[in-house]
């Protein structure tokens, strides 16, 4: 509980920084103006542009952090993340297909496609999980599913005659929360809330899986149901994230590792802290993307990958210890 409180405080600070700092420097008078007069231009920058963007980053980071922790618990693998079972790849591929078919201009279609792609892949994985219990088998199927999703996306690049479509797809695949307003957040919460609830429901099963499938199967818990809940929850969260921000890697991998030790390595107790840590990470990554002085604003997916890749290597290094054990 203390960990959750400390992380919540850190998230509040990160959100505060993300709202206060940005590309446009404001003077002390303008800050005062923003708080005093809600209709002032400074208030519009702080609460109409930066705040929804910061909350979108936090929401997406939280969803990815939680989905990553669930995947790591389910697959008993410290290198698992929401993308490992192909859910992100199909979410991205479905969004890219929608763009390629010219549906990008219709509000909600690309977002809906992203969610549908994630749920479709999640459904396939859930069916496979009912048949194959071993995590290694699921990971292998996931790799195949992710490769297929990636191939579909590449095929769009390959066949699309329009450079505009390509630019749109590429932008989607690089992830961003730029220009999100408050009305973009509500549709994402619709899948995120049941997704988080399913993950919470699966928590006890994830903890029991620490001892392996057989010990868990005799624990008295309805393991088959809990496994499906974990996959469905992670798919809903991942799909909703892609719906808001496109494809963003590494947050789902990194967030659980940042808090795992403080949560006694318990796959159930690590869930809520992972969500908050993910929210902090992505809020700060988005702040970085905005304040790093580049000609074109850095894409969020690029920033998380740039910082996430070295972390991934570090995690692999440390995980080698438990593989030897």
């Amino acid at each position: 509980m203390r960990l959750i409180l400390a992380l919540s405080l850190a998230l509040a600070v990160a959100l505060g920084l993300s709202i206060v700092f940005g590309e446009t420097a404001l003077t002390a008078t303008q800050y005062a103006d923003a708080f005093a007069r809600p209709a002032s231009p400074a208030a519009e920058i702080l609460f109409g542009i930066r705040a929804p963007r910061a909350f979108a980053a936090a929401l997406v980071g939280g969803a990815l952090g939680l989905a990553g922790a669930v995947m790591q618990g389910l697959l008993r693998n410290p290198l698992a993340e929401p993308g490992v079972l192909g859910v992100s790849a199909w979410s991205g591929a479905a969004a890219a297909l929608a763009i390629a078919f010219g549906l990008g201009a219709t509000p909600g279609i690309v977002e809906g496609a992203a969610l549908a792609g994630a749920l479709g892949a999640g459904g396939v994985v859930a069916l496979l999980a009912a048949r194959f219990r071993e995590p290694e088998t699921l990971i292998l199927f996931g790799v195949a599913l992710a490769a297929l999703g990636g191939a579909v996306t590449t095929l769009i690049f390959n066949l699309s005659p329009s450079p505009i479509t390509l630019a749109e797809v590429l932008a989607w695949l690089q992830g961003s929360v730029a220009n999100r307003d408050w009305s973009d957040l509500a549709p994402a919460l619709v899948p995120m809330i049941p997704g988080a609830a399913l993950c919470a429901y699966a928590a006890a099963g994830l903890r029991m899986l620490t001892l392996g499938e057989e010990a868990a199967a005799l624990s008295g818990l309805p393991m088959a149901r809990l496994r499906v809940a974990a996959i469905a929850g992670a798919a809903l969260l991942t799909g909703a994230s892609v719906e808001v921000a496109g494809v963003i890697g590494f947050v789902g991998l990194a967030a659980p590792h940042l808090v795992r030790g403080a949560a006694s390595d318990d796959p159930a107790r690590v869930l809520a802290p992972s969500a908050i840590a993910g929210a902090i990470l992505l809020t700060l990554a988005d702040l970085l993307a905005r304040v790093i002085p580049t000609e074109v604003e850095l894409r969020l997916g690029v920033v998380t990958a740039l910082f996430g890749a070295p972390l991934f290597a570090l995690v692999a290094w440390r995980a080698a210890r438990s593989w030897r054990a």
Binding site: R76, N77, A204, R207, M208, L209, T210, L211, G212, E214, A215, A217, L218, S219, G220, L221, P222, M223, R260, S264, D265, D266, P267, R321, S322, A325
Partner: protein, 255 residues
Amino acid sequence: MTAALELEGVSVRRGGRAILQGVSLSVAAGEVLGLVGPNGAGKTTLLRAALGLQPRSGGDVRLSGRPLEALSERERAAIAGYLPQERRVAWNMPARDIAALGAAALAPREGRAVAEACLAELEVGELAGRGVLDMSGGERARVLLARLLATRAKLLVADEPAAGLDPEAQLLILERLRARAQEGAAVIVTSHDLTLAARACDRLAVLHGGTLRAAGAPAEALSPAVLAEVFALDGALVDSPAGLTLAARRRPANG
């Protein structure tokens, strides 16, 4: 009195091959049954089939007198606890939390108290706060057995609980399982150490090539003929001051 576990004509086929053929045996409350046999005899498969972890191609299993299939997951867990041969633990959780997984049906505070008592019983109480991946193999084996004991199930099934441990740890583990039997549980263990099995178990069941070759009191089940046929050993269980001891040598290949 109803047996804790009854197997009747249990058969298992895998990939077109018969792994178990018509095995029948039972374990009563208060009894320690040892399952012995060479590698590949079907010991683990029999345990898994008895607990519903392995589909059967034939035969019936009853737990506390009720057909296995009629039990809910919760009811089955209340009757049977299982310690798999595989001792891999995915996360470096503290020993206390690992042992408490056995008492998941209890309130958290009560579960932790039961877990700590079981860790103390296995003489690893002082390691309760240490991560299991930071422990030696022997310490981890004790923590995992503490998890089994914490289930307080009527039937405790332990697959090779003493394998790879030093002699003192082996004796401690078998002693604690015997103590549970004296308190009224039914216990099944598998072991490759025939001396240990003969001393710790009330009865032994000898599996060979998927069939039950012999069952009974240790000296009876591990007769010289069974030792020769099943284990390719020339010798016998002999009485010594410490209890039954296997005195045997490998049978020459042409013998």
